[in-house]
Symmetry: C2
Subunit: 347 residues, 2 copies
């Protein structure tokens, strides 16, 4: 599998989007998010999506030159209308606003309407700890997770991201879909022709399947609990924004050209730590919790106990140096977008 | 099993606590929370705990006459020192403050330190929708949930409660522990001498057990995801409050007299819906989501698809009329606290 250098890849991605008349701010956030996410090892939400995003902006489904509007509705609340911008851009405008409101009043909460796929929630969540804030990032998505006790999907994989700064390393970062496993994991098993455990996914009738090709819906995490969390997130995002929810949200992947807007909704919160405790003391505390977890006796001697975000920290360290692996077929898509991508391949 | 009328039970509980020199405000919140929770069918956090609370306040572990202090640290943030009050009382002081801050600024967040067991998180969460707010309530607890990949427990069952008002009925209410099943469910299987599924709980070495008597720790919901949520909640509660966390929190049940304070921490958030969307429109939207869920074709024709909080709504309706069932042994504890409890028994 070819390995791409993240820095050179970023440069060529920026050029490629600029050629498609995407605004500099949108270019910045799309590329920063995708490359950061791939370096963190989250391949489902990283650069693999770049060819898709290029098609979506050319088709007019995503607006590369948005005129976003911001309505501050209180000392600690605001609403952003994203004007169908890349979600990576709209989300960061909203997260930065939540942090600004939080630094002024203690907590800031920002709802985003008329947005598009925002990639990895951690891209926004990780911004808050830079300013000594806790961060929350949520988005809704099209129906894919089976309603508990039903035959069919109802909510999307509606993720929750939570971040907190630590003393001696990057932030604590929990970024989880509210499905038990991701759709990407089902697709990986399809590609590798491997069976899946029967509690991961279901067919049209809501029966568990072991053949990944027959999977149509995902199991919510913890069954009725994950189903409830999915509804919480659709309320925080879609209901507060007055946007489409669950089954009314259009799917992400449709044959191009498809200019119909998806109107996704997001929700961001920043909590200013200094209103509750001295931030240095807070960071020591969280660091100490993480350290105590990592020295717990593991069940399997070869698999040390990890903290949420640890796999991503390890991946980041490795991939900054050794490159981002990209499947052959996706590399070819990159090369057909721009021959410049060949420069990014590590020897 | 004897059935208690909720109204008469409440009266005698109030007298019983007052005789133990508990302040009127604390009496009000302890009794309101326990009876509401039992009516809602959540027996693990309802009146069954009343004899325990009576012992705890007599032993001096819980302070029946707290001098709580409130420090408003921003337009949208505050810290409450609970002075070891009943958590039911301290939590409602904090939730009401979060709502007040939220109504003024858009969002309110309140941290509580030096508290005790607060019962069901829904007691606080359900307050927010009365004022057209979304509510969040969190608490930390002593270590009981096994760290993912480890042999031993690390975080408590650290619950998350989220509420939102609906148009035509009581609020949407998700109130879930971050363990897959509750400890109470293990105890029920012990009493009934029934086996448990091997993925519910573990022995001292972290191995799954089917004999409930051998269970020492619980599985987090969704394995590493629930473990991450448990850490999120311990950060929001214990780290922000600078209180004890996970393994440093003393257990709830110890032989009396045990006056050592537990110093639990809680965190509450209220989001003023009107800063984001017209509350009437919001309530219609959430109602419509719930209605659409309830008409989904069920997997099992005898088990209609339900929304989080539906079992509690059904139980409330039934138990207000027909009474709260109380196990014989616990009824006896009530009668030895006060013969007046016999008046509450339904014929």
């Amino acid at each position: 599998m070819p390995l791409f250098n993240g820095g050179i890849l970023s440069e060529v991605m920026r050029e490629t989007l600029a050629e498609r008349k995407v605004s500099p701010e949108s270019v910045h956030h799309v590329v920063s998010s995708l490359v950061q996410t791939s370096l963190r090892g989250v391949d489902s939400h990283g650069i693999n999506l770049f060819p898709h995003y290029c098609r979506a902006v050319v088709a007019g489904r995503v607006n590369g030159n948005p005129r976003m509007t911001i309505d501050k509705t209180g000392e600690s609340a605001a609403v952003v209308d994203a004007d169908h911008a890349f979600g990576h851009h709209a989300g960061m405008v909203a997260m930065d606003l939540a942090i600004e409101l939080g630094k002024k009043s203690g907590v800031g909460a920002v709802s985003v309407r008329n947005s598009t796929h925002f990639g990895a929630a951690a891209y926004f969540g990780l911004r808050a700890p830079e300013k000594d804030c806790l961060g929350f990032a949520f988005t809704n998505a099209d129906a894919l997770v089976k309603a508990f006790g039903a035959k069919q999907a109802f909510f999307g994989t509606n993720p929750i991201c939570f971040t907190a700064p630590m003393e001696g390393e990057g932030p604590y970062c929990l970024d989880m879909a509210t499905s038990l496993v991701s759709w990407n994991r089902i697709k990986n098993h399809r590609r590798e022709k491997e069976r899946i455990p029967a509690h991961w996914a279901f067919d049209e009738e809501g029966n568990g399947v072991t053949d990944p090709d027959r999977a149509r819906t995902l199991n919510p995490v913890g069954e009725y609990k994950g189903f409830g969390l999915g509804m919480m997130i659709d309320i925080l995002c879609g209901a507060l924004a007055g946007g489409p929810m669950n089954g009314d949200i259009l799917p992400m992947f449709t044959p191009p050209p498809n200019p119909v807007k998806r109107r996704l909704s997001h929700f961001f919160v920043a909590v200013d730590i200094s209103r509750f405790i001295d931030p240095s003391a807070f960071k020591k505390i969280v660091q100490s919790v993480a350290d105590r977890i990592r020295v717990l006796p593991p069940l399997d001697a070869d698999r040390p106990v990890m903290v949420s975000g640890d796999p991503e920290k390890k991946s980041y360290g490795a991939r900054v140096v050794s490159g981002i692996p990209v499947h052959e077929s996706i590399s070819e898509e990159f090369f057909s977008l721009s021959p410049g991508f060949r420069k990014a391949i590590l020897p």
